[in-house]
């Protein structure tokens, strides 16, 4: 009933192509944005910022980058974590070489480096596809992590071999580093994620998005109707790696505070891939839903026994956690193989006609 679209007539193509042609979607988004921009920052605790809000945003952004490549352009990649690493190291180098640089600008620029490297590792996609391409991107994963370890210039020859985020100032407040407040970090992350999400939505619904989807669905037909496959695939690699790189920079600068090379090892790649798959490939919303599930659920499960007064030791909680999350992932994939976003789409379609069956 609340979702009834009857009476909302479109009289121009411009109105039909609006970002949210259905009024209820716009209202829903406005509510979510109010929560994200006003209510959460006012009410959230330090713990909520550090374990839920900030990581969910960053993981969603990384998954969105991967989703552009895998979900929209159909190119499977297992090198996400390495490209996140490139973004993080590039940001670190820029900040330390050019301390006058605005940190937010540095974070946005760091994606440019990962985009360049992403294109280089995307070249094999011109000849191979599917699982074989995934193996080729694994090469990026191993090579780049090795490089982060061996090339000491990247971490300014630190004895620890790790990159440490210095205190970064903007407009007189610390926005990153040990002295920064969580709420400031949260706002920086939220700003970058909101901006890139908007750009991604536009890209995926426009010409480039159609080019990518055509490449994904039927590459031969795409080429015969005039799509330059090389350009289509390489732009997908570039834009995907850019977003992933920015996510990597945020991951270290706004959340972890420091990182060793092995942070960017393959488990992180898989975690981002899980978020994209469970959230829904070929969907922007899905990345956020997936990140909420994968990042949020362990936190909630950790808190649950204490909240209901059951005494379990923490090691046991960890084990239960893994088991419950594993089975939930399988459950969700059986119920809706196209991810949480498809589940929401289904619910929405039903809501629009509810309570009638047609």
């Amino acid at each position: 009933m609340l979702y009834r679209t009857a009476g909302q007539f479109k009289t121009s193509y411009k109105a039909d192509q609006a970002l949210f042609p259905v009024r209820q979607d716009a209202v829903l988004l406005a509510i979510i944005l109010t929560f994200a921009w006003v209510i959460f920052p006012l009410t959230a605790s330090e713990f909520a910022f550090q374990t839920l809000l900030i990581p969910i945003m960053i993981y969603a952004l990384a998954a969105m980058g991967l989703n552009i490549l895998t979900g929209y352009a159909g190119q499977l990649s297992l090198g996400t974590a390495a490209f996140m690493g490139v973004g993080a190291y590039a940001c670190y180098k820029m900040i330390t070489l050019m301390p006058w640089l605005n940190p937010v600008v540095a974070i946005l620029l760091s994606g440019v480096f990962s985009a360049g490297i992403g294109v280089v590792f995307g070249i094999p996609s011109l000849r191979i596809k599917g699982f074989y391409l995934a193996i080729a991107t694994l090469a990026a994963q191993f090579f780049l992590v090795w490089l982060f370890e061996k090339w000491s210039w990247l971490y300014n020859d630190n004895a620890s071999g790790a990159i440490q985020v210095p205190n970064l100032e903007m407009f007189g407040t610390y926005i990153a580093g040990p002295q920064a407040a969580s709420v400031t970090e949260y706002y920086v992350v939220l700003f970058v994620v909101s901006l890139l999400t908007l750009l991604c939505i536009n890209l995926t619904r426009g010409t480039l998005g159609r080019t990518w989807k055509a490449t994904r669905d039927m590459d031969i037909a795409a080429e015969l109707i005039g799509i330059n496959l090389m350009k289509s695939k390489l732009t997908a690699f570039a834009i995907s790696s850019y977003i992933v790189g920015v996510a990597g920079a945020l991951y270290v600068f706004m959340w972890k505070g420091a990182a060793e090379p092995n942070v960017f090892d393959i488990p992180l790649s898989f975690q981002v891939l899980f978020i994209a798959i469970i959230g829904g490939l070929g969907s922007i919303l899905g990345n956020f839903l997936g990140a909420i599930l994968i990042v949020g659920l362990p936190v909630i499960l950790n808190l649950l026994p204490a909240a209901i007064g059951v005494q379990i030791d923490s090691a046991m909680v960890e084990h239960l956690n893994v088991m419950i999350i594993g089975s939930l992932i399988i459950f969700f994939l059986i119920v809706e193989p196209h991810g949480l976003a498809a589940l929401w789409r289904l619910i929405r379609e039903k809501l629009i006609i509810w309570p009638f069956p047609h």
Partner: protein, 272 residues
């Protein structure tokens, strides 16, 4: 017809234009197999040209040569009066050659509207930045091309399904959407690979009507492969007949129908 230009020809009372495309001595080999052997024919502006022949005659290969998917070992493809250099299929498409496929090749994950919009890609040129911001040229182009696409959707009577994902559509409609995608490109040459395959009589009638209407209203030149002889003879202005990679007949439907070599190729001939 007093002012008929010199290069125009009249076949069965219908006037068609000069040469749009000419195949000159095309030979195409796959390893040791010769798929097409020394074939020459032309496609004239505004005509409906059929390519027929028994299974394995090399018709689809011929279409793939025209659309640039295969590059022949010998021979030249002349297009609009100049030889066409070896180019990638997407470049050929940009010259104004659009096609449909024998086994439907739609983008299943996209809606009908988006599928037809992909046909307009070569008419859209906004940069990535404009697209990301959905501003300026990108936005104007989206609306402008949407109007053109809607005209095609109207023409093929698929308005009701424009926002349905293609994967949910029945076969006959998918064929029509594929035609819409090809038409949206405003091609000067439209290639149809078995447009009636797997259709029932009514669907065939619909499709025939659409093909004739496209030719009539937009003046689009059409080259098609089809197995339904009734349809071919009714629709086409001229017919090329192929068998075992060779051309065995070429001419108006009636000439071809009565040609002994063609009859032999289709019905078989006793060798005693």
């Amino acid at each position: 017809m007093l002012d008929q230009p010199e290069n125009f020809v009249t076949i069965d009372g219908r006037t068609i234009g000069g040469q749009l495309m000419e195949m000159k001595n095309i030979t195409l080999k796959f390893g040791g197999v010769t798929a097409i052997k020394d074939i020459s024919f032309d496609i004239r502006e505004g005509e409906i040209r059929a390519i027929i022949g028994p299974n394995g005659a090399g018709k689809s290969s011929m279409l793939n040569v025209i659309s640039g998917f295969y590059i022949p070992q010998e021979g030249e493809v002349w297009y609009k009066g100049t030889p066409r250099p070896a180019m990638k299929p997407f470049e050929v498409a940009r010259l104004g050659v659009a096609r449909t496929f024998q086994n439907i090749a739609l983008f299943e994950g996209m809606t009908v509207l988006d599928n037809v919009m992909t046909g307009r890609l070569n008419h859209m040129s906004a940069g990535i930045a404009a697209q990301a911001l959905w501003w300026g040229r990108a936005r104007a182009e989206e609306i402008e091309n949407r109007e053109k696409v809607e005209r095609v959707i109207d023409f093929l009577e698929i308005q009701a399904i424009r926002k349905t994902p293609v994967g949910r559509l029945p076969y006959g409609l998918k064929k029509r959407v594929e035609l819409a995608r090809a038409l949206a490109a405003e091609p000067s040459l439209l290639l149809l690979d078995e447009p009636m395959a797997g259709m029932n009589v009514e669907e065939k009638e619909d499709m025939s009507r659409f093909i004739l209407d496209v030719n009539d209203e937009f003046g689009t030149t059409i080259a098609l492969i089809e197995h339904d002889m009734g349809v071919v003879m009714d629709l086409s202005d001229r017919v090329v007949v192929m068998d075992y990679g060779r051309k065995i007949g070429d001419g108006a439907p009636d000439e071809v129908r009565n040609d002994q070599t063609v009859i032999d190729a289709y019905l078989g001939v006793s060798h005693d």
